[in-house]
């Protein structure tokens, strides 16, 4: 991640779907009607068919919309070629952060548009340092060597023959929210928190591979290397890999997406995203870290005394409200279902609290599913808005007892050192201000 400069905030498209929710975007979008007056005019009632759009949303195909779908046959079975696509009325997309270079860049998940807990594979955030490689799985293999008994090469077929695990975990880039340390900068939750995604991952435990090669005495670190143009490398503590590291080839019930490391990636539950090496081709066991570029000049946090923190690997407990969130607009006083995500890299989410008065009073939120280790959980909180200005916050408590801190608490410990110095691992409580007009904005409270 280029940290020598502070990249400009993205110029947000007027019709950007990241303004999802209550803020009516331009163009056809059923959500614009969600809180509209509900009149026939607003609903665009007409007779006959609506013509298919020329430019369907990414990942969708456009079809004519019949006036009454009960009065004519729908599309033929199999007409999609055997692989489905989303509805043409669903428009949420990842948005690329405007880094100078499109090959070494990142895209953010539209968190406000997500339903439930899992991130659709096609909306999983991306961080690439040399573009997305195209890899033939028949020509790809994983070499495990270094301080081992028998160095071995595992083909993709080999990996599938080994016992597998299937676990739900989040991945969060440690740069998530890097624009938000100094002042509220990006306007939507996609911008402030979109480097977070959750999938069900399937693969082989590293411990299983370790047994196949046999570990030699003295091994303490493992270099993981990708097969992309960056030949990305990170040094991982062997202890972590043995504990719960997964060599993952499956994501949400199918093969991992190319952007997520097809055909195989490393999954290190709760660790910063950069360590989950994609397109994994090599693991080298060593006694010391290799001090690669990414773990020295990048992904380190420069403190005010001029020294930098290194190997900040665990992602601490965090949460964010996705509805209502920045750039949305509540149509008026009434009951709203406040909702969002909470997660911790150190275990399960224990509880989530919500405040509507900038943290003066906290109420317990409802967790929508049983929390799993190093996995997001969806929380909800019914809120009756009286129409006066409010500041919404959520805070996560994880099973270790850690309470998600305020930004002030973090700054008191880390210092406030330059926009390009300490940018990673911002897990502070997020504040969304609701104005009396219903407009929601990103604030520091």
């Amino acid at each position: 991640m280029p940290v020598q400069h502070a990249p400009p905030p993205p110029v947000e498209d007027e019709a950007c779907p990241c303004r999802d929710g209550m803020f009516a975007p331009r163009g056809a979008d059923r959500r614009r009607f969600l809180f509209a007056a509900g009149s026939g005019v607003a609903m665009g009632l007409s007779t006959g068919r609506a013509r298919a759009e020329d430019n369907p949303p990414a990942g969708a195909r456009s079809f004519d919309v019949p006036d009454d779908p009960t009065k004519e046959q729908g599309r033929a079975v199999g007409a999609d070629g055997g692989y489905g696509s989303r509805s043409q009325f669903e428009r949420a997309v990842r948005v690329r952060y405007p880094t100078p270079n499109e090959n070494t860049s990142w895209s953010l998940t539209p968190l406000a548009a997500l339903v439930g807990n899992l991130t659709p594979s096609a909306l999983h955030f991306e961080r690439h340092h040399g573009g997305i490689p195209t890899i033939d799985p028949d020509r790809h293999s994983l070499v495990v060597h270094g301080m081992v008994g028998t160095p071995k090469r595992f083909s993709m077929d080999d990996l599938r023959r080994l016992p597998s695990v299937t676990r739900k975990h989040f991945i969060e880039c440690s740069g998530n929210g890097l624009t938000e340390w100094k002042k509220p900068t990006l306007k939507t939750v996609q911008g402030t928190h979109g480097l977070l995604s959750t999938s069900e991952w399937t693969g082989v435990l590293f411990a299983t591979l370790a047994r196949e090669v046999g570990l030699a005495e003295g091994g303490a670190w493992v270099l993981a290397e990708g097969a992309d143009a960056a030949v990305m490398t990170r040094s991982i503590p062997l202890e972590k890999l043995l504990k719960d590291g997964i060599i993952a080839y499956g994501q949400n019930g199918e093969a991992i997406r190319p952007e997520q490391g097809y055909p195989v990636r490393l999954l290190l539950p709760g660790y910063e995203g950069n360590t989950h090496i994609k397109w994994l081709r090599r693991l080298e066991v060593s006694d010391k870290p290799f001090m690669t570029r990414e773990e020295t000049s990048k992904y380190t946090d420069l403190m005010a005394d001029g020294r930098a923190r290194q190997f900040s690997l665990d992602m601490d407990a965090k949460s964010v409200i996705t509805f209502p969130s920045g750039e949305m607009r509540l149509p008026g006083p009434g009951v709203y279902n406040v909702t969002g995500f909470a997660w911790s890299g150190r275990g399960r989410v224990q509880s989530v609290d919500v405040s509507v008065d900038a943290g003066k009073t906290w109420y317990p939120a409802y967790l929508g599913s049983a929390p799993e280790p190093m996995c997001t959980v969806r929380f909800t909180f019914p809120w009756s808005w009286d129409g006066t200005p409010a500041v919404l916050q959520s805070r996560c408590v994880d099973e270790t007892g850690y309470v998600q801190p305020t930004r002030q608490q973090l700054l008191a410990i880390r210092g406030d050192h330059g926009p390009s110095a300490s940018i990673y691992h911002l897990n502070a409580i997020q504040s969304w201000a609701v104005a009396s007009t219903g407009e929601v904005s990103n604030v520091h409270a």
């Binding site: 595992f154 690669t292 930098a308 309470v403």
Partner: protein, 195 residues
């Protein structure tokens, strides 16, 4: 008395139970080697020669050498288009190349400038990274001599080594970067926020 002898003296039911136990017991006492599934193909040293990752010790550095003078030529041809003729970097759209020199002494200031000269703790990382991922438009295309040379050039322009020093597998790990002691393993002091 051995297990087998003891079994002989028992009734058929007890013997059957013990037989079952015998079936289970060996699994619990298997050695690590016996639990291996035999999946994966051993790789040879020759095959492993296709990979590299250079730690601060310099282990794995290839043969070859280069000087700043040679590196200046390599740099102008392969690197300057993005990183600039004076190694100043370029954040223009479509480029996004880091600044390579300068910034020494700025890390504790309000406007820290992180470059290979001011921030990178190990010179070996420079070799490793250039060899694996540079030039951006043609990663991994430089010869080992060219990598050594361009590393020498960047270090020399950053006044980390003298202009006439030769960089090779022996000298590179000995180069002491200005910010060598600037990194501390993160103790995560925020964990004091435990309730």
């Amino acid at each position: 008395m051995s297990m087998r002898e003891r079994v002989r003296g028992l009734g058929p039911t007890a013997a059957a139970l013990l037989g079952l136990a015998q079936l289970v017991t060996p699994a619990a006492s298997q050695t690590a080697a016996e639990t291996r599934l035999g999946v994966g193909k051993p790789v040879t040293e020759v095959e492993l020669g296709a990979y590299f990752s250079i730690p601060p010790s310099g282990k794995g550095l290839p043969a070859g050498h280069g000087s700043a003078k040679e590196g200046a030529v390599v740099f102008q041809e392969h690197c300057a288009a993005c990183h600039g003729e004076k190694l100043q970097g370029n954040m223009a759209p479509g480029i996004g190349a880091d600044r390579l020199i300068g910034g020494r002494g700025s890390l504790a200031s309000e406007t820290p400038i992180k470059t290979t000269e001011s921030y990178w703790p190990y010179a070996t990382t420079l070799f490793d990274y250039i060899k694996r991922a540079m030039p951006f438009s043609s990663p991994g295309s430089l010869t080992d001599d060219q990598v050594y040379a361009v590393v020498a050039y960047i270090l020399s322009e950053g006044h980390v080594i003298k202009t006439d020093e030769t960089i090779d597998a022996t000298t590179l790990p000995k180069v002491r970067m200005p910010n060598r002691d600037g990194f501390i393993p993160d103790a995560r002091p925020e964990l004091s926020l435990y309730r």
